[in-house]
């Protein structure tokens, strides 16, 4: 070990002082220690994905054994998952919920966030506090009256509309996050637009929106993932009608249908995880920025 570590020092033409050499050795040891820890942590974070993926490619009988690596690579498992009745409907429903819900959230939350960030009016701080309270509110707290409202008065249970329609009226988390972002836009830009004769709506659309693109992207991603991951909502409103199930909800019943077939269940799990991870790779920067933003002082 010491010999290997000494080598770089021996390569330098001039003799280096003992102090410098020990400092270098310390730095190298430190590098090795930090990166070994990094590799160990990386294994902890990635091995579950690896095992899930490997199991998804095992044959039915091998998935019941204790083997870690498939003997034969059964790519057909993925075809069998797609052939499961309902699987494509779950995809379609999830895309509708996540896609339409995201558009509605951004369109309805942006003007509210803009008013909270840049207008001066009485009750502004109170409104902001109420937004934060709503953000912290567990969705289960108001679910009984909301269910009765959608199911008994509007007769919309068995559809995803009770989950999509409310997003047209602002989402507390998105309002808060956008407000945090809009606070960072200097007022001079808005004043300049006003001097040029821009109305408030035009200022928002032509000045603020282009500057707030990263914030809007972060909000859109969060909302998309929220809808994609939502289990409680579809369980309450869509469980009675398999035609309205989403992937997150359907995945559970998939496990029920293929009780002992861990390979198929894991293949379905991979198919539910994959789109989220793909979207992340394309939008990594905006996403990380959004996560950071929620923790930053306003």
């Amino acid at each position: 070990m010491t010999q290997v570590l000494d080598r770089p020092a021996q390569l330098t033409p001039q003799p280096v002082s003992a102090a410098e050499r020990s400092a270098r050795r310390k730095a190298l040891l430190n590098w090795v220690a930090v990166h070994s820890l990094g590799v160990a942590a990386a294994l902890f974070f990635t091995l579950p994905f690896v095992f899930v993926f490997l199991t998804s490619l095992m044959s039915d009988s091998q998935a019941l054994s204790r083997d870690l690596i498939p003997h034969t690579w059964e790519w057909g498992n993925y075809r069998r998952v797609f052939d499961t009745p309902g699987f494509l409907t779950w995809w379609k429903n999830t895309l509708l919920y996540a896609g339409l819900g995201t558009v509605l959230t951004v369109v309805s939350s942006l003007p509210v966030a803009y008013a909270l960030a840049k207008f001066r009016f009485r009750g502004r701080n109170l409104s902001l506090m109420l937004v934060i309270s709503m953000m912290m509110l567990p969705p289960q707290v108001v679910v009984i009256p909301m269910y009765l409202f959608w199911a008994k008065q509007l007769d919309l249970s068995g559809t995803l509309w009770p989950l999509i329609v409310p997003l047209a009226f602002g989402d507390a988390f998105s309002i808060f996050l956008l407000r945090q972002f809009l606070m960072t836009i200097p007022n001079e830009y808005l004043d300049a637009a006003r001097v040029d004769g821009c109305g408030d709506l035009r200022t928002l659309l032509t000045v603020v929106v282009p500057m707030a693109k990263p914030g809007i992207a972060a909000v859109a991603l969060f909302q998309f993932f929220n809808a994609w991951n939502d289990y409680f909502g579809p369980q309450i409103y869509a469980s009675e009608n398999p035609g309205a199930w989403t992937l997150s909800y359907g995945l559970e019943s998939f496990k029920g249908m293929h009780h002992t077939d861990w390979n198929l269940t894991m293949a379905a799990t991979v198919l539910v995880m994959a789109p989220v991870i793909l979207v992340f790779f394309f939008a990594q920067k905006a996403f990380v920025e959004g996560v950071t933003l929620t923790g930053v002082k306003g």
């Binding site: 003007p111 909270l116 009016f121 707290v141 009984i144 009226f169 289990y231 894991m266 995880m273 989220v276």
Partner: protein
């Protein structure tokens, strides 16, 4: 220009504010204020969704607190998650955040790998862990037995089901890693240099320079973690269902909180009471308990002194 009086200008500005705020004003009234009041109302009513609601006084309240067998175990589990899981998650998130700021080679790759599990959809992630940790054929226990470490029953053992859930939440620590990473990189370099000149050791630098600088972020992580822990619903439910081998839809009754109520949380009770037993009144009582707990922590988060979320300018 001179025709615009001060009063009309003020009216226009109020109208403008109302117009911009209108989506949320409607959303707040219809999806927050109305259902909150309604929840309070139903908590004093007997209502099964078929016959019209009738006044029942405090009956639902005494039922939930004194006779409903799941309430206290669920509250205990929720508090367990709040204390143990949140503490471990914050410590682990800070450790991973520190590690990522020290890694100089391949930082981007490491950061992405550490972050990915946070994105795994909860149902999928829980199913994955139920498989990885299943005592029969799961890879984790296979490996543990090969090394000769006694393998726990994880989601099938009441003593291990919450630690197994904690492991799942530690796996998805990416959100905390990112905010700690940002906070750590924001600590002024000069302070470290000054401490080094004073001969401070690594631990002293962390204790007297890093910690004071990032303490608001730690506080933020703790409070949001507590709130998330109180809302914890999907993961314990799915873990219990998969481990017990009972999945909804087959008409089989699922024993809530399998094994032995150890994965029961407060939000699950609202579902159990409201949508399985059609006792909407008692479900609203549990909802109000959950609401009160969340509000206590939200108030804590909003305290100005904490400097976490500052209102206005």
């Amino acid at each position: 220009m001179s025709t615009i009086t001060l009063a009309s200008k003020r009216r226009r500005s109020a109208l403008r504010t109302a117009a911009f705020m209108s989506p949320w004003l409607i959303g707040f009234s219809v999806f927050f204020a109305y259902p909150m009041l309604s929840t309070v109302y139903f908590s004093f009513m007997h209502y099964d969704g078929f016959r019209p609601p009738t006044w029942s006084g405090t009956k639902n309240w005494t039922y939930v607190f004194e006779h409903y067998p799941y309430f206290w175990p669920a509250l205990r589990n929720t508090l367990w998650l709040v204390l143990v899981t949140v503490t471990l998650r914050v410590l682990f998130g800070l450790a991973i955040g520190l590690l990522i700021t020290k890694i100089k080679t391949g930082t981007g790759v490491f950061r992405t790998l550490f972050y990915l599990p946070y994105l795994a959809p909860p149902v999928a992630a829980t199913m994955a862990f139920a498989f990885l940790l299943n005592p029969g054929t799961g890879p984790v226990n296979s490996i543990l037995e090969k090394i000769g470490i006694p393998a726990p029953g994880w989601f099938n053992d009441p003593a291990w089901s919450k630690p197994a859930l904690t492991l799942l939440f530690l796996w998805g620590v990416g959100d905390l890693m990112v905010i700690f990473m940002a906070a750590l990189l924001d600590v002024p370099k000069e302070q470290y240099e000054a401490a080094e000149l004073d001969g401070a050791s690594g631990w002293q630098r962390f204790r007297f320079v890093t910690l004071p600088n990032i303490s608001p972020i730690i506080m933020f992580a703790v409070v949001t973690g507590v709130i998330a822990a109180m809302q914890c619903y999907t993961q314990p439910l799915i873990a219990g269902k998969v481990a017990s081998g009972v999945i909804q839809g087959a008409g089989t009754q699922f024993e809530p909180g399998y094994p032995e109520k150890s994965t029961l949380t407060l939000p699950q009770l609202i579902y159990n009471l409201g949508f399985q037993r059609f006792d909407y009144g008692s479900a609203c009582v549990v909802a109000l308990v959950l609401f009160a707990l969340s509000m206590v922590f939200t108030a804590f988060l909003m305290r100005r002194r904490g400097g976490l979320i500052q209102a206005g300018d």
